[in-house]
C-alpha cells in the first residue's frame, strides 16, 4: 500500500515540476514566470516529499521532509517578493 502511494504522489509531483519548469520557459513576462517558478514547483516538491515519506523508516525522516518543504515554501515566498521588487525597479526605476 505504501509503495502504491509513493508511485502516485511522486508521479503527481513530477507532473507539477514539469509544468512549473515549462511555465518558467514559456511565459512571456518576468512576473508570470515567478508564478510558475514559486507555486508549481513547490507544489511538485510537496508531492514528492509526501510520496517519499511513505518510504521513510522512522518518523524523524517524515518530520525532516516536512521541515524541508516548509523551508522551501518560505524561501520561495521571500525570493519571489525580492525578485519581483528587483524586476519592478529595473523596469521602472533606473
Amino acid at each position: 500500500m505504501g509503495d502504491l502511494a509513493t508511485y502516485a504522489f511522486t508521479g503527481i509531483g513530477l507532473v507539477f515540476f514539469a509544468a512549473g519548469s515549462a511555465g518558467l520557459l514559456r511565459f512571456p513576462d518576468v512576473f508570470s514566470r515567478l508564478h510558475a517558478l514559486t507555486k508549481a514547483d513547490n507544489l511538485g516538491l510537496g508531492f514528492i516529499a509526501l510520496g517519499t515519506s511513505f518510504q521513510a523508516g522512522s518518523w524523524r525522516d517524515v518530520a525532516l521532509l516536512a521541515l524541508i518543504w516548509g523551508l522551501m515554501l518560505l524561501a520561495a515566498a521571500t525570493v519571489s517578493q525580492l525578485i519581483a521588487r528587483d524586476a519592478l525597479r529595473e523596469r521602472d526605476g533606473e
Partner: protein, 107 residues
C-alpha cells in the same frame, strides 16, 4: 521502487536543465536569479527522491541546500543596490509611479 524513484529523479533533473536554459537565455537578471532558485528547488527534490535509495542522510543535505536557496536570493538583491547595503526599503521612492500594468504596487 528504486527504478521508479530514479526515473522521477531524472525527470526532475530535466527541469534543472530547463532552469539552466532560463539562466542562459534569460533577458533580465531577475530571470537568471529565478533559474538559480529553480536549480535549488530541483536539487532538493532529487535529494529527497534518492533518500530512500541511497540512504536517509541525503535529507540533511537537502535541508542545507534549501537554506542556501533562500540566502542566494537575499545575496542577489543586496548585491544589486548601490552601496551593497541593499536594504530593499532604502530607495522606495525610486519607483516614480505605480506600474501601468497593475503590477504589485508596494508601499
Amino acid at each position: 521502487m528504486t527504478a521508479w524513484l530514479s526515473f522521477v529523479a531524472v525527470g526532475v533533473l530535466a527541469s534543472l536543465g530547463a532552469a539552466l536554459l532560463r539562466v542562459w537565455r534569460g533577458p533580465g537578471r531577475a530571470d537568471r536569479m529565478m533559474g538559480a532558485q529553480l536549480a535549488g528547488t530541483s536539487g532538493v527534490a532529487v535529494l529527497m527522491l534518492l533518500a530512500p535509495v541511497e540512504g536517509w542522510a541525503a535529507l540533511d543535505v537537502a535541508l542545507t541546500l534549501s537554506l542556501f536557496g533562500a540566502l542566494a536570493a537575499v545575496g542577489f538583491v543586496k548585491a544589486v543596490s548601490a552601496d551593497g547595503g541593499g536594504d530593499p526599503e532604502e530607495d522606495d521612492e525610486g519607483i516614480v509611479e505605480p506600474p501601468p500594468a497593475g503590477g504589485a504596487s508596494d508601499g
